[in-house]
Amino acid sequence: MIGPAEQFAATLAPPVPRAQAAVHCRGVTKFFGADETKVTALAGVDVDIPYGELALLVGPSGCGKTTLISIVAGLLDATAGEVEVLGANLDTLRGSKLVRFRSANIGFVFQQYNLLPALTAEENVAVPLLVRGEPRAQAVRKGAEMLAEVGLGDRRKSRPSHLSGGQQQRVAIARALVGEPRLLVCDEPTAALDARSGQNVMQLIKRIAVKSDRAVIVVTHDSRVYAYGDRVISMSDGKIERVEQPLAATA
């Protein structure tokens, strides 16, 4: 069992060698607005996230976590700084190239699941494959297989409205992983779940998402899940405050 936040014990994480970094950020800055309304969301972020690890991005609301994962996932442009993801400099990817890069390499898990209510679970899981242009029957078959991996093989014909929150998030995880992405970005995947469902979701991510050729970033407020991380990156005021390794991860 993972203990409460006060029992979380960690040590400073060692630096990541450049060759092992799935995500490499240097001096990443992001401003929103201009002049009097200018807001600094990120103020020179330096961070590396290696392959084969589950990195937790933690910190108070407004500290820049969501902005950072949006930039890393290629959904938002940085104002300044260098962002290299899976060996590709995102500055050099624009328009359709960036869209294809995202489609091929990045999986997403959203806080509110964002499952299409009109689709069954297996159809929802198949959506990223359909986006890539796979034939529907093949995509849905792969979706059903992926659902079985997350333990929902028997609910593949269910619509989201007939699934619990935890089950919906498992469907969302299956959807994020069905395309074999090399980077998985999860935004508060446990925030809408009760404690037990949250633990189950994190266990699932840890069990099936983390692979040697894939990096997983999970943004979370939930200190009860810190121990699932291989690396806990704390942010404050748009900066990286510290990067730690839970003792369990170093063991």
């Binding site: 997403f108 299409l116 689709l119 990223p128 359909l130």
Partner: protein, 380 residues
């Protein structure tokens, strides 16, 4: 992605049906009201429509329509016949009479007196008897719908008598005619007989119907007749449009129907547009997710346009079907006297254009939200 767009569209059946209903509502109002309007305009010229054997209609130059007739002296016929290029010219009487049936019913009726010799101007389709029966003494042909007005709840049979201007008329045939603007019976008889069925007038010649010689330009012949006789001469189609133009300019019909059609367009557009817009807004987070997963703006535009055209096509089909059913049912039941009304292909095209405009406007308003949606918004 088309499959996905279809699933998203039909996922919420209430909203989907709401959008289709909005488009169908607009379609049915536009198609039905426009068709009735066109039908009414056709009715104003029903006698012109039914007499197609002549190329040219000649009348008093101050005449403004087919109903307000300024009769001409008989010698005008011979003046017209004398114009170079005229193959033949015959008389036509058109006026209103009061007809009394043997049961004592009084009805106002339209009297058409056709040329005694050639019977030019005869009804287009006989249902009982023959046009030649008009040569029988006191013989008249009555249109079938008019017969039912004159002899309500009675089977149609020939030989019934009418009294017009204290003169007897015998029904020797029935016909199908284009329904008139005023829902009066139409009574056809020979010209020489028609003038006895109306109160005595000095002049009785309503129109001269002219056939141009082979190879003769109708427009040129009209100009020549007008020049040589000081009468108004118009080709069949010009007279048709001239008459319709009069009703367009001098009655409130176009304004009233225009208002209804515009309301149909606005209300249908508002229902469909607003529902479609809200539907897109509710799906915005899903569009954001799709964007994050790698769907570019062009594919999203394709999805939204597909959804808009789908509801547009369905609403248009349902609306047009309802309008057509309305005309079919009223025609068969005889209710509301909308006989002869139908949906011309031009109205179908206009309705399709209006529906396309509605759904495209709705989808463009929605697309703006989708296109300017930051993919990063999915994390908010």
């Amino acid at each position: 992605m088309i499959w996905l767009a279809w699933k998203m569209l039909t996922g919420d059946r209430a909203k989907f049906l709401g959008i289709v209903f909005g488009v169908a509502f607009g379609s049915v109002l536009i198609a039905q009201q426009s068709s009735i309007f066109v039908g009414l305009m056709r009715r104003t010229s029903s006698q012109i429509i039914d007499i197609t054997s002549a190329d040219i209609w000649v009348m008093d130059k101050r005449q403004q329509n087919i109903d307000e007739i300024r009769p001409m002296p008989e010698n005008r016929l011979y003046q017209v016949r004398g114009v170079d290029g005229v193959a033949w010219a015959v008389r036509l009487f058109k006026g209103n009479v009061r007809a009394k049936t043997s049961e004592g019913n009084f009805r106002q009726a339209i009297m058409v007196g056709i040329d005694d010799a050639s019977l030019t101007g005869a009804p287009p389709l006989m249902t009982r008897g023959a046009v030649e029966d008009l040569r029988r003494p006191d013989g008249v042909i009555v249109d079938e719908d008019g017969y039912r007005v004159l002899f309500p709840n009675q089977p149609i049979e020939l030989g019934r008598t009418l009294d017009m201007n204290d003169r007897r008329a015998i029904v020797v045939g029935t016909c199908k005619s284009t329904p008139p603007f005023q829902t009066f019976p139409i009574i056809y008889t020979r010209y020489s007989q028609a003038v006895h069925y109306i109160p005595r007038e000095r002049n009785t010649l309503s129109f001269v119907l002219v056939k141009a010689q082979a190879g003769q330009s109708v427009a040129e012949l009209c100009r020549r007749i007008a020049q040589q006789t000081n009468l108004l001469a118009m080709s069949w189609v010009d007279f048709l449009m001239f008459n319709i133009q009069y009703y367009l300019e001098n009655t409130g019909i176009p304004i009233n129907f225009g208002i209804t059609v515009t309301l149909g367009f606005i209300v249908g557009g508002a229902i469909a547009g607003q529902t479609f817009y809200l539907f897109t807004l509710e799906n915005l987070k899903h569009f954001g997710s799709l964007k994050a997963m790698g769907v570019d703006n062009w594919r999203l535009i394709g999805m939204v346009i597909f959804q808009a055209l789908t509801v547009g096509l369905m609403g248009f089909g349902i609306g047009l079907g309802l309008a057509a059913t309305f005309f079919e049912v009223t025609e068969r039941s005889g209710q509301g006297d909308l006989r002869g009304m139908f949906i011309p292909w031009q109205i179908v095209a206009i309705t399709a254009t209006a529906v396309t405009f509605i759904v495209l406007a709705a989808s463009l308003a929605s697309l703006r939200k989708v296109l300017f949606l930051e993919p990063a918004a999915v994390f908010k």
